[in-house]
Assembly symmetry: D2
Homo-oligomer: 149 residues x 4
């Protein structure tokens, strides 16, 4: 790992997390990009994610944003978990929409961080804003000496 | 509907919502109880809701709480949607845990409401607290004159 | 301190905090009651807390709730600070209104806690709901052996 | 007003609000800049804003951020109020620190908006992040035909 760049470390962390992450795979969430403090993921609104009227449940919009947050705050080879989050729902998403969540690290200090995610649809319309608070726990994705464990 | 009690209306709204709610059915969320301003739901943490280490993804804990919130704020025959929500994750949930979300209406005035949900496991341990803000939209579950539509 | 009840400890912690708390004194916030995990405080909406139209600034409603939260989470002889908070403004408060903030401890575990405050006016009308997250820091109000330091 | 640019309208709205805003004047909050959807304000941490140990009360950090939010969401000649807000406290501020709050409009649609404020000290250190939700009410700052009322 000693000779990897932060970008390579972030990509390797994302790859390892996603391989373990049967839940995101099961949901159909795809990982598009991971950089230090940043991740971009996508999810298509299938019928089973909607209520009976073709509107995506807010809980799945949260799930997508929360997953993007998880990949963002785990991109530096330190494992972190969500301590809390808030979401504002700004516009409905419909069956067939392709949602993208991406975000920025607002703050990282000691064991905690703040990450802001935006969820947009395929037209760029803002569907939701999300703010997550992370807490670092023990553990790494990459072995400090030998690379991917 | 004119001769139904608020409790009967709440139960009927819950029944109608759940029949439409293919998403909750698909997720395995069960509706245990609906009263005016209140709902209690349960979800068992299956393997596909966990990360690779047997810990339930926070997004699914949110989803359960958000669903309980939806049934709570739709229990008076006025359709309402989530405008926003926040969650604090207090303890991890593990594969096999049976989670229950229930909550109270803190406020309802004009078109908006505030609902607090608590998510506990089968031992009564508090896993998360959730606060949702609702906004009433047009539409009813029950016909004002004839009962269930 | 060894022979004090939790209620006596909470009252002593409140008394010591308030004596140090020139800010609350300056604002006119009065401490009515402190119990373990609970505090009740009051503030009258003076002209200088309003905008030009007699409506209390939301910032001062937050300040009252946040102060009640601080006394609640510092009532067990362990110093704690606010890590974050959210507030929902439900009804305006006017010049001359007597606001009361009180709340309950929802959770306390390890170094962190969740506290819910309600702000009401003199008629009992709900003005705002507030949720605070606390983090314990080093330090005590009472000497473990000899009582008030 | 018809021949004013959005920047001139924002500046005029800020000037009119501040003249009415005896509370901010009383607190020592200074208005540095207003643009459409944006405001920058400053506050020096005086002794009476601190607890007994020279640390600024979180409630005053909120108050500064909330005031910056108010000027941001009132910068387009439509009166708006806060519906709710959340804050994360990231580092303490001390007596003598000069705090600045500024922020961006994340979203504006229909009657509601989302605004993110950052509070920094004189060294640029991030002290808090704040997210406010606004709701437009009736009323304007400037007469549509004749300019400042």
């Amino acid at each position: 790992m000693a000779d990897m760049t932060p970008e390579e470390i972030a990509q390797a962390c994302g790859r390892i997390m996603y391989a373990e992450d049967t839940s995101s795979q099961h949901m159909g969430i795809e990982l598009l990009e991971v950089r230090p403090g940043y991740a971009r993921l996508t999810l298509t609104v299938r019928r089973e994610l909607t209520n009976g009227h073709g509107i995506c449940h807010g809980g799945y919009i949260f799930l997508l944003a929360d997953t993007a947050f998880a990949y963002s705050c785990n991109s530096r080879n330190e494992r972190a978990v969500a301590a809390g989050a808030s979401i504002e729902f700004l516009a409905p998403a419909h069956e067939g929409d392709v949602l993208t969540a991406e975000g920025v690290e607002q703050h990282r200090s000691g064991r905690s961080g703040i990450y802001d995610m935006r969820v947009t649809d395929q037209t760029g319309k803002l569907i939701a804003v999300f703010r997550g608070k992370s807490a670092t726990i023990r553990g790494h994705f990459l072995d400090e000496h030998k690379g991917e464990k």
